[in-house]
Symmetry: C2
Subunit: 330 residues, 2 copies
């Protein structure tokens, strides 16, 4: 039994809390809004973000960050752009040696930094890992079998966390490359928007699969430039997650692209949603990072232009398809 806190009660945070509670761990779920925490505690359901899933009676639900900070392992599942402020609030309450597992996916727009760097800055003295993979919240909360990557600075540390986070239906594969895991987890949401556009424009499944593969090549270029390894991307955090996020209309980022292809503006789509669509800020942050590092990321750049600079989706895709072919690993 591990004492685990989940910080953030969106769909994925709630699903993780439920999965670990159902697997017999001692789990606390931190909910930012006091009202929502009380409602969830009484109803044993997160009707706003994970409707239809009954939460285990053993799951402790609290709006107190101080209470949540006391666990051995903290899973951070807040929107990426709120990671720093949440970590700042957590920091004074953390014990030395606490393990912080990033389950949020994104790049900080204000600084261009990865979230592992944000953890290191805001919560020194903690051990930081990344949990990312092909996981639909409803499926995992419903007990369906699944897998993810758990990446830490070295393989011994990731194996230690792997054993702390054992569960009935979420199998973790250990990796030693947090950079690749984080970049893949973040940038795949941008590629998923592009795939939604291709799907919405009816360009076919072959075109979508080809685009995902080129998207993975862009992720690999950024990963290598940031100090990560290409082969890490062949795991659940890279190929696995893209396989899911870039092919399913149930993915928030994919469906965002579909709506853009139907002629909706990004502002209209965002206004119609309560949950965060991480690919939207991540496109901006990644395009800026690629520019700064001098890395060719045409798909990311195109999605960013469609989202933030008024480029039309049809012209955008046409421009992408007309690029000359190259050697596969260039």
């Amino acid at each position: 039994v591990t004492k685990i806190s989940v910080i953030g009660a969106g769909a994925w945070g709630t699903a993780l809390a439920q999965t670990y509670a159902a697997s017999g761990h001692d789990v606390t779920l931190w909910v930012r809004e006091t009202d929502l925490a009380e409602t969830m505690r009484a109803a044993r359901e997160n009707t706003a973000f994970l409707p239809g899933i009954r939460l285990a009676d053993s799951l402790n639900i609290t709006p107190s960050l101080e209470e949540a900070a006391r666990s051995e392992v903290l899973l951070l599942v807040v929107p990426a752009q709120f990671a720093r402020s949440t970590l700042k609030s957590l920091a004074p309450h953390l014990k030395t040696g606490t393990t912080i597992v990033l389950c949020a996916k994104g790049i900080e727009i204000a600084t261009g930094k990865l979230l592992t760097d944000v953890v290191a800055e805001e919560c020194p003295g903690t051990s930081c890992a990344v949990l990312t993979g092909p996981n639909f919240a409803h499926e995992i909360a419903g007990g369906k079998p699944s897998a993810s990557t758990i990446a830490a600075q070295n393989i011994d540390e990731s194996k230690r966390i792997q054993s702390l986070l054992s569960s009935k239906n979420l199998r973790l594969y250990a990796a030693d490359d947090v950079i690749a895991a984080e970049i893949a987890g973040a940038v795949k949401n941008v590629i998923a928007i592009a795939c939604g556009i291709v799907h919405g424009l009816d360009l076919g499944e072959s075109a979508r699969a080809a685009l995902v593969t080129r998207g993975l090549a862009e992720i690999a270029r950024l990963t290598i430039a940031m100090g990560g390894k290409r082969e890490t991307l062949m795991g659940q955090c890279g190929v696995g997650d893209m396989m899911l996020t870039c092919s399913s209309i149930k993915s928030r980022n994919f469906s965002f692209g579909v709506l853009m292809a139907e002629g909706k503006t990004p502002e209209e789509i965002l206004a119609s949603r309560s949950a965060v669509t991480e690919g939207v800020p991540t496109a901006k942050a990644t395009a800026a990072l690629a520019e700064k590092l001098g890395i060719d990321m045409p798909i990311v750049k195109t999605v960013d232009a469609c989202l933030h600079h008024g480029l039309g989706v049809s012209e955008a895709l046409a421009a992408l398809m007309l690029r000359p072919a190259r050697a596969e690993l260039e």
Copy 2:
């Protein structure tokens, strides 16, 4: 303009012939049955394997292998288990320096050999390459955008063939690793059957994505053991093709798995189909190869056991899911 012959008029062969003819090349399509060749020539349609696609007037259709052998580039698109006999018949008619591009996907059961080795044995003096990627025949024949890997012994040779095989909608990426391309093209059909089973058993999209990723890890192990490179698998021939074949009910191998999950026996499914389901013989050949080389390929082994040794699909999947987790790249 390149003089191209396509050897084999199944769905993919016909689609390739149509794509290259529509792109302005001088294309001959070899059809094994004289009757079918005549019908196709008159109707400008392959009603048996690619209905609904009008074939270009410029496309030459012939039942004469001798006539087809005269082209500069030959695309071999016959079922894998018929590759050797077809190459044997072609050999006496080939000019030295003819380029043979393997578009068939499989491993020869009788010998455990890759098809590039079969080409080397039966047609010495030819240059051999592999064309493989995420391509649904109907989409490519219909002019939708797509991409594939073109792999040859070295990058200069693959770039030479890349430029010979330019087309309006099938973009080729050059690679120098025929072994990885061939193994991925063949074995992904086995993984697709497993994914169809997972889909048919309603285990969820997360489980399917995780299974594809572990399937890719098995393909990587075999690839490395055979002398190929892991990173080649990140291209259209590996990740790209799996993204398509392992997620779409339109894939013959995926739908084969779905029918197995519904309780049909492999014999019943095969009897109901006219087109070849390559994953069925490939499972047998790959399981034997893995055994011989001492490589751990649990998904392939399980699919082989379900297909050829009467293992039930539910027990099979349960056994797979219970395996202990490991480090991601082990």
